[in-house]
Amino acid sequence: MAAKLEIEPGSSNAYHTGEWRTQQPVYQNKWPPCSQICPASEDIQAWLALASAEQWQAAWHKLTERNPFPATMGRICYHACESACNRKHLDSAVNIHAMERYLGDMAIAQGWRHRSFCDDAQPERVAIVGAGPAGLSCAFQLARHGYSVTIFDDQAEAGGTLHSAIPDYRLPKSVLANEIDAILALGIELRLNSRIGEAVSESDLLDQYDAVFLAIGTQQPRLNPYNNGAEKARSNHSVMSGLEFLHRLNRGEELEIPRQVAVVGGGNTAMDVARCVRRLGAEVTVICAQDPHGTHHHELGTEMPASLTEVVEAEAEGVQLIYRAGVHRLVRSGDHLSGIEIAHVDRVHDRHGNFNPILFDGTEEFVAAELVIFAIGQESDWRGLEVLQKTTEADGVWVGGDAVSKSKLAAAAVGSGYRAAMSMMARLKGDAVIPDEHKKRKITYREMQLHYYAKQPRLEGEMNPERLDGFKEVVKGLVDDDSARHEAKRCLSCGVCFECDNCWHFCPDAAVIKIAGGYRIDYDYCKGCGICAEECPCGHIDMGNVS
């Protein structure tokens, strides 16, 4: 007798509200600015994410996919990544270089070895000219993929400029040696003291190898361009190139340095030189043709190229800097240099990029110096490589590193070695070069919701208090795992989902489904309101047209 009632409703799941949608969210990884600006194209966000989870070795492996020199680069790279870091709009940039160094040092301490991607040896052989960062980076990538690689270098030690021109207080030799050894351990043949044309002929190189990578760097310094002719000869006791100064210092020569030294140049080499001179006990003045950091001359628009940290540290060490000044003439008393006359420089290069300074009359000043060191650039030495210089990739010859780089940054050399290796391998296999997965659309902080992140102080490596006492390393690394994890966690993960659950919590329609490693949008129900995209802290979600 009970009433038969069909009043138990069915599920609303039967109704697909997704049909209301006029725009739709899409999960889309972006290219964080750190990675985008990194000359070595490191996937910084990815390895910081691993580090934040204390997966140190995985983080190191992820990092070294692009750069096998973390301990080195963590010390000497000028970390453009940090100036691009979106976090500076919240508090201060992530200390990426300190993290990189921390992982690199940990790898050295733990004896971690690089992984080979390929168990099978490839039949092709590759020759690399130059054992600097570009050559080693290229060799590293090729060796990991099973290619047989031989590196030729005319120096007695591997490392190129890293070895010859970076002072010990920035990069202890042992750190570099350890990282090079780890690379070579992949089975790379290294032939030192082997200049092309002497140890092996250009034609042998082309005949015996399936591909050649020229990474000869820039070993030829420019000398004083201000004095036409007369002073352009070889360096002497009163005029020297910065490169020569650093080479000699790094070789362990006992240099006699006068009491007052002038360094001409506004780049990092100039800073290196100046700081080394300070460590040798002299007073030093840097004559820089550009403006200091933080000034933006709207017409000239030139800031000195040296890294800010270098400048700050140099000034802290007592280096004097004179900006927007050019050398008018060297002032001699007999054979002896007494100083240089400088003047306001309006412009250094002309529109065509040629060195053509304009110095304003009546602005001359005298700077006392018994030695002037010019650190105003360097060039490649192509002697003995005349045939190879004319070849192209079509001939199986790639060129990379400082020889073709504008920035002359070590990290750029590493990146160039990587790209050359990828290009070579694609060519050798007959494939197209696979584009980098992480290089998507760049993301700016404006597309992110920075209020979802807590302000956290940036941790710095400590400064060595006895820094001017010889060439001890100035900057110490991060002190421990806790600091490293803290700093890694500061990464905003720009444009890359870090599973904060915001989209999942906020979706009014339960159309965001949590799955292993992320989320899925159930387009059957998503109404396209856009809240998930609006509230995504890292800008990972795009609103696009309905497909």
């Binding site: 609303s12 994410a49 509230e535």
Partner: protein, 326 residues
């Protein structure tokens, strides 16, 4: 049963017909999932009831009942009494809009609290009668345009103030009464969990933006609710037995302009002299609430910044694994 998501119950599942970007759907989904399916839900008439049970399609995956507009708290009282006499401890949760709480439902709600029923009453406060097309309620803030408080030559929107319902609740000396909003999920979660751990009548007022009635972009529902708090216009507070026991401190006070401008319901204030007076009035109201609750100087670490923080791998979900299903 919807078993799409292993990490939440979806007590309020997909396919409901709330407007795109609905703050009430968002709030109800959060609250009901935090409580889970082992509870009985009573709904007053209103948007939530209509859009979740459209024409024999229910979005509820827990026992749910709707009777009439005014009586949700009384129906819940009866359910709770029935459970009590049967020795069952199933939680009882009322969900109502501001109409069903501040206005037509206030008498039953007051009775429920006075009698001490073990019920959580959740008010999704969207500050007007949205279900019937945005008419003014006693929860509608001062100077807001609604279809029954239109601005005109002699009017700048609603003349009266928003009813201070949380103080009315507190005056019942009930065990727990709190305000929350969707923008601060960790705060909402903490309050729901706290409320569920207390016996007796409990009240939660959840500010739930309505893109339709507040006239803002549907993507801004969370943003607007955050600004309501950060300007001081909607203080997040907890009251136990009538005493103020917790406030969410403002990391910094934002000017009310930032909250008002994205919302069309305040648009008329921005292009007239009298409107400018009301803007100053609204700012003064925010300042007064900040002073009243000590929102800038409260001695608590719980502030708007902390409650906003996102963390890798989530800020706490609804369930580790679903109780039933995958």
């Amino acid at each position: 049963m919807d078993k799409r998501d292993p990490f939440r119950h979806n007590v309020l599942t997909s396919g409901h017909r709330a407007c795109s970007g609905c703050g009430e759907a968002m709030a109800a989904r959060m609250v009901s999932d935090l409580i889970g399916p082992d509870a009985i839900y009573i709904n007053a008439t209103g948007c939530l009831q209509v859009f979740t049970t459209h024409n024999q399609q229910s979005a509820w995956q827990a026992p749910w009942i709707h009777s009439v507009f005014a009586n949700a708290a009384a129906v819940a009282s009866g359910i709770e009494a029935a459970l009590r006499i049967s020795g069952k401890e199933t939680p009882v949760v009322v969900q109502a809009g501001d109409g069903g709480t501040f206005d037509i439902g206030l008498q039953c709600l007051s009775g429920m609290i006075e009698r001490g029923h073990d019920i959580l009453f959740v008010c999704y406060d969207n500050e007007a009668y949205m279900n019937t097309g945005v008419q003014r309620s006693s929860s509608t803030p001062h100077a807001v345009r609604t279809s029954t408080s239109p601005p005109g030559r002699l009017s700048q929107g609603k003349h009266q103030l928003k009813k201070d319902v949380i103080s009315i609740m507190a005056a019942h000396h009930m065990p727990y009464a709190a305000t929350a909003t969707v923008a601060y999920f960790p705060d909402l979660k903490a309050k729901v969990e706290k409320a569920m751990g207390i016996k007796g009548p409990r009240f939660l007022q959840v500010l739930s933006p309505c893109p339709l009635g507040w006239v803002h972009d549907s993507a801004l529902s969370v943003t607007v609710s955050r600004l309501a708090v950060e300007t001081g216009l909607f203080p997040l507070v907890e009251l136990e037995h009538g005493e103020l026991t917790g406030v969410m401190r403002l990391a910094e006070q934002r000017p009310v302009d930032e909250y008002l401008r994205p919302q069309g319901r305040f648009k008329h204030l921005f292009n007239s002299k009298n409107g400018a007076i009301e803007l100053r009035h609204l700012q003064a109201l925010a300042d007064a609430r900040i002073r009243r609750y000590g929102l800038l100087d409260a001695e608590t670490e719980w502030d708007t910044d902390r409650a906003m923080q996102s963390e890798r791998h989530g800020r706490g979900g609804y369930c580790e694994r679903r109780s039933h299903g995958s």
